[in-house]
Each structure stands twice: as structure tokens, then as C-alpha cells.
């Protein structure tokens, strides 16, 4: 028959490994979960950056098909109107348009407002910028 002391010792032994696992898991998750959440934000930022580039590309292509700067601005705004806001991307707007008739090219810069899916301290709102250059296709060849 085991003594009282020895019984106490056995109980202690049983509780210790489970607590250790719990503590280890908790410590691990405390480290891993922020990394994972940060990774989700990074992936979201990367994805939206690419989306912004694509919007800039689309807008530049729309501007490239116009024959004057006024029309180009309208075309860019119209093309950006097709953007549907989401919980992550709140807006895409025209930042700057450079209509260079001398060199036959147009540069369109867009600015995209991002709300990261997992708000982190001081890092819940981002502004992404992208620009694209396209040839001017809407101007007739020289006479």
C-alpha cells in the first residue's frame, strides 16, 4: 500500500505534464497566432497591391484610347467606377494622370484604400499607390 506522501507525489506527477503541455501550447500559440494573423494581413496587402496595379493598368488602357486629356480623365473615372468596394478595399481613385501627346503615352496612377482583415495596432489602414503607362492609341496618325 503506498504511503500518503507517495500518493501526493503521484498526483503531482499526473498534473504536471498536462499543465506543461497547456503552457507550451499557449506560449506557442501566443507566438504563432500573431504571426499567422500578420501573414493573413500580408497576403491581403499583396493581393490588393496586385489588384491596384491591375486597376491602374485598366485605367491607363482606357486613357490610352482617348484623344485628349479631358476625355482620358473621364475614361479613367468611368473605368474606376466599375470597382465594387469590399470590407478590405474601400476605394480606388485616380491619383494622377499624365497625358503626354508628344511621346504618345499616358501614365495613370491610382490610389487604393485598404483596411487589413485583421487590424493590428497602428496598422489597420493602408494606402496603396500604383501607376501604369500605356501608349496613346486614340490619336490619329500624323497627316
Amino acid at each position: 500500500m503506498p504511503s500518503r506522501n507517495s500518493k501526493k507525489k503521484t498526483n503531482c506527477k499526473r498534473r504536471k505534464p498536462s499543465a506543461q503541455t497547456l503552457i507550451e501550447a499557449m506560449v506557442g500559440f501566443i507566438v504563432l497566432i500573431p504571426i499567422a494573423l500578420f501573414a493573413v494581413d500580408v497576403v491581403a496587402l499583396m493581393s490588393t497591391a496586385q489588384t491596384n496595379e491591375q486597376w491602374a493598368e485598366t485605367a491607363a488602357r482606357a486613357a490610352g484610347s482617348c484623344s485628349c486629356e479631358t476625355m482620358a480623365q473621364t475614361a479613367v473615372k468611368n473605368s474606376l467606377k466599375r470597382f465594387v468596394p469590399s470590407s478590405i478595399i474601400s476605394s480606388v481613385d485616380l491619383d494622377k494622370i499624365t497625358f503626354d501627346q508628344v511621346n504618345g503615352q499616358v501614365t495613370v496612377a491610382t490610389v487604393m484604400q485598404i483596411n487589413v482583415p485583421i487590424p493590428l495596432p497602428w496598422m489597420n489602414h493602408f494606402e496603396l499607390r500604383a501607376s501604369a503607362i500605356q501608349p496613346l492609341l486614340g490619336t490619329p496618325a500624323a497627316q
Binding site: 501550447a25 501573414a39 499583396m46 493581393s47 496586385q50 511621346n103 504618345g104 496613346l136 492609341l137 500624323a142
Partner: protein, 518 residues
């Protein structure tokens, strides 16, 4: 034995219990990081690939657009179809060929009607050869990979594939040749035409679109045994990207245009490359060019001459005594033979001439005065005038001729296109006497040398007696004097190579016969 093993067992038990979760958590952490890194790399590569694709698209579009800026000097014979700087490029090369085609179509008609003069063949060959030389010069610049690389880099070189290799630009794929293609075969070119401007008996391929007709693109057509091919450009379209399935079957090296090795292409393919030393991303894009500008098929600096000769022949007893020209106006009384001594007596002979011009003395009235169907002459005139302005109509031509009175002091009239625009694209058809202020490109002195065709009767008027003229004499004779009136319209064609495209000569003769017998 069991004694020896026990400590080891205890050790194993202790280690697994203590670090199992930590190891698992660390392993999960590494796994998660590896997964994140993998996804990150994949996303970067996919994003980079899209950047390369976009660069290839923009580069190809820029090539198709900037090709319009490639211009070569033209020959002085084709200066009237060149641009404002006297050059020819992709946008107006069809205009150059249009003029060459019209010249050769005119020549073919001249040959068929037996009116080709000794200079005709040489002029047709020269017109074709000069156009071909300009075309070939342009082709060698357009098909050159150097030119294409330059335009590709202007656009793609200003982009980066920073998702593949931060800071690195996008290059042209060096392993890729620059194929060119002739797409939209059988569709319209940017050359507007009117079927009426093509001489009778010549078939030109045309495409009707809306109210306009265009010369057909990339379908060789023959005139004067020479092949002409026009570059296809869709009306109202901008340069745009096309798929490989459109480009490939029309590649110049796979499906060349028969008999036109150096026909100007309208589509270009470009390939972009970006790499970071480990992975390369390439993308190709094809684009079709369009000048967004159309021209009329014309010989802008060409002219038609028109002149009238009214001649009265004065005969006594059937023998011609003298000829006197008369004006293009009605009721002119001419005392043609004054105190003429016949073998038996002295007579004075009179004539009342010009009755055929009772309806007026405009050029149209002069043409209509011919008592025959004058429409063939009008059709000839209109075909040649439409060679200057395809939009010109018979009603406008009739109106032009009706509003121009024939000046007796003028030797001939010129019908030509006055054009103040720098590239001769705004023709205003005019008629003017040679004593007026004609454009400097019309050489009034050597006008006859400009014609490479031979004159031939076009319309012959039946002879009328005492209908449009009257003759009388003093003292009267037997038989009664008669006045016979006849006319002929002659057409001398010109190909247009030396500017002259036609000469309409109206000759009216009134023969008055008197008698010496009392």
C-alpha cells in the same frame, strides 16, 4: 537486463512528456512559415507574370501605334499623295498605291480601247516601280527588329517586374524573332473609293461599309498586268490586341500574300522577358495597327483639258476657198467671201452661223449642242474627275460646266482639283481657262506632252443641212447655197502619270457651199 533498460525507458518517457507540445508547436510554426513563404513566392511569381504580360501587351500596342510614325521620303511623282512633310508611312501607303493603281487602271483601259500612246507602257511601269521602291523602303524599316525593339522598349522598358526581381526592368525576349502578320484579309483598307472612278472594264476589289466603299485589303488586284495589294485597316478602330489564333494563320512567313513579298503588314507580335536568375517569366502579345485615318483614292494633281474649235468651210461649186473659225454663239453673220471672183462673175457669200449654240454658250451648252448622245463624254469626264475627288457626282459636274461660259480668247479649259491643304486631301474641283491663274503644277506650255494616250473619236454628230446655219450669196446662184453642220467629240486619254488624265476636244464644222452659176 531489465535493470539496465529501465533508466533509458525513464529518460525517453521524461523527454516525450516534457517537449512534445513544444516540438509540435515549433514544427507547426515552421510549417506555417514555410506555407506562408511558399504562398508569398507563388503570389509574387504570379503577380510578376502579370506584370510581364502587361508589359508585353503595352509594348505590342506601342509598336503597332508607333509604326505609324515611321516615314520614308517619296518620289516627286508621288509628292501629291505624301504627308505634310512629303513622306509616306503606314497610314498613307495605301494612298500611294491608290494613285499607282488608278494610273495603271487608266492605262489598261487605254490599251483596251487602242488609245495607248508610245509613252503609255513606260509610264505604267515607272508609276508601279516608283511606288514599289517607296513601299520597299518603308517595309524594310517596319519589318526591322531594330525598329520594333525600339518601340517595344519605349513602353515595356519603362515598366518593372518588381515582384519577380525588384528594381529590374522588363526586357525583350532575345530568343524571339519579331513576326509580322497581315490580318483582316479581305476587309477594308483605309482607302475610300467610288466605283465610278475605276475605268470601264477594270475590276477593283472593294468593301462596302455604311455609305462608303473602300479598296479591299490584302487581296491582290490586277491592273495593267501589275499586282496591287492594299493594307487592311478597319474603319473606326484603334490599334488593339489580338489573339494568337488571329495572328498565327496570317503571319507573313506562314501565309504570305501572293505576289506581294513586301506588302506592308498591319500586325506585330512582341515578347517580354523578366527573370531573377532562377526563374524566367515570358509573355507574348500581338497587336494590330490602325492609323485611324482614311484617304480617298485619287491622283490629286491631275487635270483634264477641254477645248472647242468651230470651223466654217467656204466652198464655191464644191471647191474649198477658205476656212474661217467662228465663235460659240448663235446667229453670227459672217461675210465669208467678199467680192470673190468666180470664172463667170463676182459673188459675195454670207453665212449665219452658230445656230447650234442657241441654248447658250456655257461649256455644258457646247457639249449638249452636239446633236447626239453626249453622255459617253460626260461619263469619261466624270470618271477622270472622280480620280481627283471620288465624291464628285454627275450633277455637280453638270453644274460646274453650266456655270462656266466659254471665252473665245481662251485656247482651252482645265478641269482640276484646287487643294489648299498641305497633304492634298481637300480637293475643290474647278474649271478655268488657260488665260486664268492656273496652279503652278500645270504646265500650260507643254500640255500636249503630258498625254500618253492617243486621240480617238468618241461621239460623231449626224450632219444636218440648213438647220443650224444658213448660207446666201449676192447675186443669187443656182443651186441655192447650202449650210451643212456636223460635229465630232474626240477623247484623248491620259494615265495621270504626267498629270494629264484626259482631253475632250469638240470640233464643229459648218460647210457652206455657194454657186458661181446665176
Amino acid at each position: 537486463m531489465s535493470q539496465a533498460i529501465r533508466p533509458l525507458k525513464n529518460l525517453k518517457k521524461r523527454r516525450s512528456q516534457r517537449a512534445a507540445s513544444l516540438i509540435l508547436v515549433i514544427a507547426c510554426g515552421f510549417g506555417l512559415m514555410a506555407l506562408i513563404y511558399g504562398l508569398f513566392t507563388l503570389a509574387m511569381f504570379l503577380g510578376g507574370s502579370r506584370q510581364v504580360r502587361n508589359a508585353a501587351d503595352a509594348g505590342a500596342l506601342n509598336v503597332s501605334r508607333k509604326m505609324m510614325d515611321i516615314r520614308v521620303p517619296t518620289d516627286p511623282k508621288y509628292a501629291d499623295v505624301a504627308d505634310t512633310n512629303g513622306k509616306v508611312g503606314m497610314s498613307n501607303v495605301n494612298r500611294l498605291w491608290g494613285k499607282a493603281y488608278l494610273i495603271n487602271a487608266n492605262l489598261e483601259e487605254m490599251q483596251k480601247s487602242g488609245q495607248a500612246g508610245p509613252k503609255a507602257t513606260g509610264n505604267g511601269d515607272a508609276a508601279y516601280q516608283l511606288a514599289q521602291t517607296v513601299n520597299d523602303n518603308l517595309y524594310s524599316m517596319i519589318a526591322s527588329s531594330k525598329t520594333q525593339d525600339l518601340f517595344f522598349h519605349q513602353m515595356a522598358g519603362r515598366r518593372t517586374a518588381n515582384m519577380i526581381n525588384p528594381g529590374m526592368g522588363i526586357d525583350k525576349n532575345p530568343q524571339y524573332t519579331c513576326p509580322i502578320a497581315m490580318v483582316d484579309r479581305g476587309d477594308e483598307s483605309n482607302l475610300i473609293m467610288t466605283p465610278g472612278q475605276i475605268p470601264a472594264g477594270i475590276t477593283a476589289g472593294k468593301v462596302d461599309k455604311g455609305s462608303k466603299s473602300f479598296m479591299q485589303g490584302y487581296v491582290p488586284m490586277t491592273a495593267n498586268n501589275k499586282k496591287f495589294t492594299f493594307t487592311a485597316f478597319h474603319e473606326g478602330e484603334q490599334p488593339h490586341l489580338i489573339s494568337d489564333s488571329v495572328f498565327d494563320p496570317n503571319r507573313a512567313d506562314i501565309a504570305p500574300i501572293e505576289g506581294s513579298a513586301t506588302v506592308i503588314p498591319n500586325a506585330f507580335r512582341q515578347s517580354a522577358l523578366a527573370g531573377n536568375g532562377q526563374i524566367d517569366s515570358t509573355a507574348t502579345a500581338s497587336a494590330v495597327a490602325n492609323p485611324i485615318r482614311s484617304y480617298s483614292m485619287t491622283i490629286p494633281q491631275s487635270y483634264i483639258t477641254l477645248y472647242v474649235v468651230n470651223m466654217s468651210n467656204w466652198l464655191v461649186d464644191g471647191k474649198k476657198i477658205r476656212s474661217i473659225p467662228y465663235e460659240t454663239k448663235a446667229d453670227q453673220t459672217i461675210h465669208g467671201l467678199v467680192d470673190y471672183q468666180t470664172p463667170t462673175r463676182v459673188i459675195n457669200c454670207f453665212g449665219k452661223l452658230g445656230g447650234e449654240y442657241a441654248s447658250g454658250h456655257s461649256i455644258m451648252a457646247i457639249i449638249k449642242a452636239l446633236k447626239a448622245d453626249y453622255q459617253p463624254a460626260m461619263k469619261k469626264l466624270l470618271q477622270r474627275v472622280q480620280g481627283m475627288d471620288p465624291s464628285y457626282t454627275m450633277a455637280r459636274l453638270t453644274n460646274l460646266l453650266e456655270n462656266q461660259n466659254y471665252d473665245k480668247n481662251a485656247n482651252r479649259y482645265y478641269i482640276f482639283a484646287k487643294d489648299d491643304s498641305a497633304d492634298h486631301t481637300n480637293p475643290q474641283i474647278q474649271i478655268q481657262a488657260d488665260n486664268g491663274s492656273l496652279p503652278e503644277w500645270i504646265n500650260v506650255q507643254s500640255w500636249q506632252e503630258d498625254f500618253d494616250g492617243i486621240e480617238k473619236d468618241l461621239i460623231t454628230e449626224p450632219t444636218t443641212t440648213d438647220e443650224y446655219a444658213n448660207a446666201w450669196q449676192s447675186p443669187p446662184g443656182t443651186p441655192q447655197p447650202t449650210a451643212k453642220n456636223s460635229g465630232v467629240m474626240k477623247w484623248q486619254p491620259g494615265s495621270g502619270y504626267t498629270k494629264a488624265v484626259g482631253n475632250l476636244f469638240i470640233s464643229r464644222t459648218t460647210t457652206l457651199n455657194f454657186s458661181s452659176k446665176p
